[in-house]
């Protein structure tokens, strides 16, 4: 039996939720923007009217306002976006339990069995679209197809408030003429490299030699060839919106530039607190650390390293992250933003290789983890501000809203 897969994409999600909450915004150019004072003054999302003025996501508010002086800017309300995302998924569950979120605003639904053919899939897609519109006041674009890649492509083809079918039979006649970079998995650089070989549209990619693509891009080459030929057979996997806990990261844009290592250390220490806490929640330890540094010219660089022994300790992660930073960053420019991410996570109980020559690192790690556990217990009982690293007590270069806080019960905001 052929699969019936839907990809539901909530149009201009953040901006649409803002309009659903405040209908007076409807018909006006809207941009959801970060706080300029906290140096997050960029466009996070915009509606179609604002797009019509050429406003782009991630553009500065200043530049957006120059393009459209009457632009209405609103602050983001992530808790409300999360709620609307959850409500939409609750609607989807009326049709199938097999739902795979892709970010807050997109989901794949496997309706195989419920819909016996593509026509029934389209009818159900229309029903879902109308239900979401009636109950949440938001519009959806839905792609209906026989695999996830084409369902996603379909949802991008017509916007807003539309259902698009990419049928299994003769699908190239529908999508063959689209740019190859419209396919999921083909980003800007892959698209540019494909262009060099004369591949611009999906039909050209589909008829290109699989072996040559394999040579050019490795495994990914074969994968995009399969995508173009409708051979994607990846299942819709049931999971929640929470990202699979493959990594735990935390980052900030400092209110003003960080000028020296001491300031970066304080920020990394503070960021690592949250990372360590998340690892405890996941029941995992990090075997590696990634740091991402953005300088004040907006150049972004990233480095990573392995840890000597897997850890949950915020202090150990911060120490390794800072060592990596000290070894790698050349201080051409002051630092604007810092992210610390724990990677290569392993389960707490999983055996790990200890050093053959010295057990000092392992002992130090165990000691740090015990200290962190005690700190968490104290914060859970008496509140987040009761105990802090002395180094970060007077650190004006960490935005207040990003400062981790622990609620009674040990749950961090």
């Amino acid at each position: 039996m052929n699969r019936v897969i839907l990809h539901c994409d909530m149009n201009n999600f953040y901006a649409s939720v803002e309009c659903a909450l405040n209908p007076e915004l409807k018909g006006k150019p809207i941009a959801v923007c970060g706080d300029a004072e906290e140096r997050h003054g960029i466009v996070l999302a915009k509606n179609y009217i604002a797009s019509g003025y050429g406003i782009k996501t991630a553009e500065t508010v200043f530049s957006a306002k120059r393009k459209c002086p009457e632009l209405v800017t609103v602050r983001p309300h992530f808790d409300i976006y999360m709620r609307y995302s959850r409500l939409a998924r609750e609607i989807y569950t009326r049709y199938t339990p097999l739902i795979e979120p892709f970010g807050l605003d997109e989901c794949w639904l496997d309706l195989t069995g419920r819909a016996l053919n593509e026509g029934e899939g389209v009818a159900l897609a229309n029903e879902i679209k109308n239900t979401v519109k009636r109950e949440l006041g938001l519009t959806l674009s839905i792609g209906v197809s026989f695999n996830k890649v084409f369902a996603k492509l379909g949802s991008d083809m017509k916007k807003p408030d539309a259902v698009t079918l990419i049928p299994q039979k003769d699908f190239l006649s529908v999508i063959g003429g689209l740019s190859a970079s419209e396919l999921i998995g083909i980003g800007g650089s892959t698209g540019a490299r494909l262009n060099v070989y004369g591949i611009e549209i999906i039909a050209e990619l589909a008829s290109f030699s699989k072996n040559m693509l394999n040579q050019m891009f490795g495994k990914c080459g074969e994968q995009i060839w399969k995508y173009a030929n409708g051979l994607d057979d990846s299942p819709v996997t049931l999971r929640d919106t929470e990202a699979i806990d493959k990594s735990a990261g935390n980052g900030i844009t400092a209110p003003c530039d960080l000028e020296n290592g001491d300031e970066v250390w304080k920020v990394m220490l503070e960021l690592s607190e949250e990372v360590g806490h998340r690892l405890v929640l996941y029941g995992k330890r990090a075997a590696g650390v990634v740091i991402q540094i953005k300088d004040n010219a907006l150049n972004v660089k990233q480095w990573q390293c392995q840890l000597e022994c897997p850890t949950q300790s915020a202090y150990e992660i911060a120490k390794r992250a800072f060592r990596l930073f000290s070894e790698s960053y050349s201080w051409d420019k002051p630092v604007r933003a810092v992210t610390v991410r724990a990677i290569n996570l392993v389960y707490e109980g999983e055996p790990s290789q200890i050093s053959m020559f010295s057990s000092d690192g392992e002992k130090e790690n165990q000691r740090s983890e015990k200290i962190d556990k005690s700190l968490d217990d104290i914060r859970a009982r008496f509140g987040s501000d009761i105990i802090k690293n002395a180094a970060v007590l007077e650190n004006g270069k960490i935005p207040k809203e990003k400062t981790p806080s622990v609620l009674p019960g040990g749950i961090r905001k």
Binding site: A20, L21, N22, P23, L87, K133, R134, E135, L136, G137, L138
Partner: protein, 83 residues
């Protein structure tokens, strides 16, 4: 016509199954309006004043009105008073 979201106090009947049923609303001037009939109960967004919740289509003094239960708070779509 401009509308505004008006939160109201609501009198509820709760049956033995825990099912709730609005029976009256208290307007902001303190006047209490009995709900004569509930015609429909559905999840819906308010297109006039924003927000969403469980929408009751109710009859009050012979007129049909929407009454929303927005996660425990109740509101109606009221005509905005121009100053």
């Amino acid at each position: 016509m401009k509308y505004e979201k008006i939160y109201v106090s609501v009198g509820l009947n709760v049956d033995t199954e825990g099912e709730i049923r609005p029976v009256a609303i208290r307007w902001r001037n303190g006047k209490i309006y009995e709900i004569d009939k509930i015609r429909q109960k559905t999840c819906a967004a308010s297109l006039k004043v924003g927000g969403r919740g469980i929408r009751y289509t109710v009859m009050i003094e012979g007129k049909e009105r929407y009454l929303f239960n927005e996660e425990g708070r109740w509101f109606v779509e009221g005509k905005a008073v121009s100053n």
